[in-house]
Symmetry: C2
Subunit: 210 residues, 2 copies
């Protein structure tokens, strides 16, 4: 109809097809879930032929693997960087919670896929990545351990356990947002960062003098 109807102005033509497939997969997996999502859904979403997915990836699984590893490695690096800074442990934990929540704010679909299809799906996909996932726990535990050694944190609980509780709180909050169980928005994101740290570090007890 219009003279230039073949041009797509809003969607600039992506040239890296591999990247296009990965990005399309994020949308497809987030929308329908990994199992319910067919490879043709990914191809359609990417505006690419079915077979091309198999040119760039060995299998549907490998697409998810790639998405997960790409992002999880960034997380591991960031945690390590945060730990390297001269901050009190509480601030380090806050920075980690903040990074994860910001990741969600920035790309909810990607985080949904990673959390729902990998991290929380320990039976299918998580199995493969258990070790990678645990690396994050270990880094967090390390932060707690060092804080206990220098007296900043109490030793009532093992570092491993504290890391579990900390990560567990973050995952629950993200899951709540992902499935619309919790209200989400700028205010809630910031509140969550504060609450996670406050719960894990400060505890619920009114007890003694604070």
């Amino acid at each position: 109809m219009t003279p230039s109807r073949d041009v797509e102005p809003a969607k600039p033509v992506q040239l890296d097809k591999r990247r296009m497939i990965l990005d399309a997969a994020v949308v497809a997996f987030a929308t329908r879930g990994f199992h319910a999502c067919r490879v043709s859904d990914i191809a359609d979403e990417a505006n690419v032929a079915y077979g091309l997915v198999y040119h760039y990836f060995r299998s549907k699984d490998e697409v998810l693997d790639t998405l997960f590893l790409e992002r999880w490695d960034v997380l591991l690096e960031v945690i390590a960087e945060i730990d390297a800074q001269p901050l009190p442990a509480r601030e380090k934990l806050r920075a980690i919670a903040s990074f994860i929540i910001e990741s969600y704010r920035h790309d909810p679909d990607l985080m949904k896929v990673i959390i729902v299809e990998v991290t929380r799906a320990a039976n299918s996909f998580g199995r493969t990545h258990l070790a990678k996932i645990r690396e994050a726990y270990a880094l967090i535990a390390d932060i707690v351990g060092k804080a206990q050694a220098d007296g900043t944190f109490r030793t009532a609980v093992t570092p491993t356990f504290a890391a579990l509780a900390f990560y567990g709180a973050i995952e629950q909050v993200l899951t709540g947002w992902i499935f619309d169980t919790l209200p989400q928005g700028e205010a809630e994101f910031d509140q969550a960062k504060a609450f996670i740290v406050e719960t894990i570090c400060g505890g619920l007890d009114a007890a003694a003098v604070r």
Copy 2:
């Protein structure tokens, strides 16, 4: 070979086939995972014909639904009972953590199925049961809320949020046991009960006087 080889001494013949199918499904789902488990696996495990599963249940899904609801309803009742007792909030939380962990100690396979295939699988099965799952959160939040009202707990964090963190810690620990990421045994079970409450109620900070 032996005269009485047709008699099974250790495995007394179950008469309620429906129950047999449910119990077999627990084993089958726990071993292979819900998706990878075929209906014939359940039937085989139950020593029952394939079609009988469909005599008692409308679908494979309904088998899992049944298992989940049976158990989750017990959990909800127990939490309500605990809340009704005249205990300090911290003790109530301890009792809840204890009940869940004892459930795992008593029947790890069943808890594995419920946690892995329903609770943590919010995308497939959890979707259906989100409301039921949230009832548990609400009960816990209520305990926290009342403790905040009477001054036992600080108000730094909303009850909803505290419930999330509490349940998140429990789920992480169970997940760790389920996938052999954490050591498990009598000692660990008791330690976990204490640590969960200690982390959530006591917090990590050494801060002030305790």
